[in-house]
Symmetry: C2
DNA sequence: TCGTGTGAAGACGTTCACAGCT
DNA sequence: AGCTGTGAACGTCTTCACACGA
């Protein structure tokens, strides 16, 4: 997170704003106030203004923000001008579901290859993305410019996988395994731990 | 989050500590210091001590924490003394993958039923959990005590689904749809937005 | 008048540093 | 000596409140 830059939490919210703006845009709305957009995004309006101000000043006092312009700025800030290639490791249950999931494509990411210890089994699950044997990872990454990886391997293999990815030049990792990963500080890891999310709920429902 | 209680972030970390302790326990380790456990969990040691102190005082100065005892306390605090039933809405790609996912069972959650507009299609995906037509949701919840739900329906149906769940007495919702959900404040929602996670990475890899 | 942009205040979270127990 | 438990310092994030531009 060295970048001279916008905090992580703000980036998540910018994604949300972008999605809300898409809806507004589809409905032909051209201008939106911080109050309205904040309501749609479920945040406080002055937080929204501060968040947007990270990217510069785009609003008109007394009027609000121009919807299309703001979306453009958001896409730009989020580094989403162009399609971003991604690879996926571990095409088991969760992995192969993610490969069939349309949400990534819709947001500008393309899973260009998947790797598994048993690609044949994964192929049976109806995966259409090119599937390789795990050993071919390094060769693939040497020949293809990819910076993002999604990890769906079992926890005990996750750290080993991460080490290989880092050595091959991967810069960002989305980790679905319930493992604490160690990486050089210039590598970014986002972890999604499904069981922890339920545990968390479990606590708060009294 | 009205509870006189432990902050959300702390709860997430407690889950992590619990998993780390499990490994230690399997290796026959009986006592662990905050420093060692913190390293395993990837956090600062005084943060770990503070986190654990939320549940009372369990350490021995000069020695550390008793592994088994601490695990017990954690399970207790996380509300995981017993198996927690969960229902799942939307058995599409992601939903049916989650139904086959073993991680929940392993952590003490049992998906007792799934609901979909087209249960036959979901059944074809090899789901073994009882699958019902979406309309049967209310009946099911009237007859079965369930407090947690996982939502995997498309974004445009999510809010409607949530409203029905809340009316039927669901208290915690794990939401996988990229939608901003409105709920009464006593209901807890945790959202996992897969595309946002990638967008986030996309920004930080410069 | 309406709504942005932003300093200042406030809430929250993390780390430090050390007293005190074993 | 080793390690916990915790006040105090520090840092970050959120909300308030208002000056100022349209």
């Amino acid at each position: 997170m060295e970048k001279g830059a916008i905090p992580k939490k703000v980036i998540y919210r910018l994604s949300t704003y972008h999605r809300c703006l898409q809806r507004l845009s589809e409905n032909g709305i051209e201008t939106v106030s911080s109050g309205n957009l904040a309501k749609a995004a479920g945040v406080n309006s002055s937080q929204l203004r501060k968040d947007i101000a990270y990217m510069g000043q785009w609003g008109t006092r007394g009027l609000g923000y121009p919807v299309e312009m703001l979306m453009l700025k958001l896409r730009d800030a989020l580094g989403r001008e162009k399609l971003q290639p991604v690879i996926l490791l571990g095409a088991g249950n969760l992995g192969s579901a993610l490969l069939r999931y349309q949400g990534f494509q819709k947001e500008g990411f393309e899973v260009v290859a998947a790797f598994d210890a048993d690609p044949a089994a994964a192929r049976k699950r109806g995966v259409s993305v090119p599937l390789f044997l795990e050993e071919e990872l390094e060769t693939f990454l040497a020949e293809n410019q990819v910076r993002l990886a999604i990890i769906c391997v079992p926890a005990e293999f996750a750290q080993g996988m991460v080490n290989r990815l880092v050595r091959s030049g991967i810069q960002g990792i989305l980790n679905f395994s319930p493992a604490v990963l160690e990486v050089p500080k210039e590598i970014v890891v986002n972890s999604v731990d499904l069981a922890s999310e339920l545990e968390n709920l479990s606590y708060f429902i009294r």
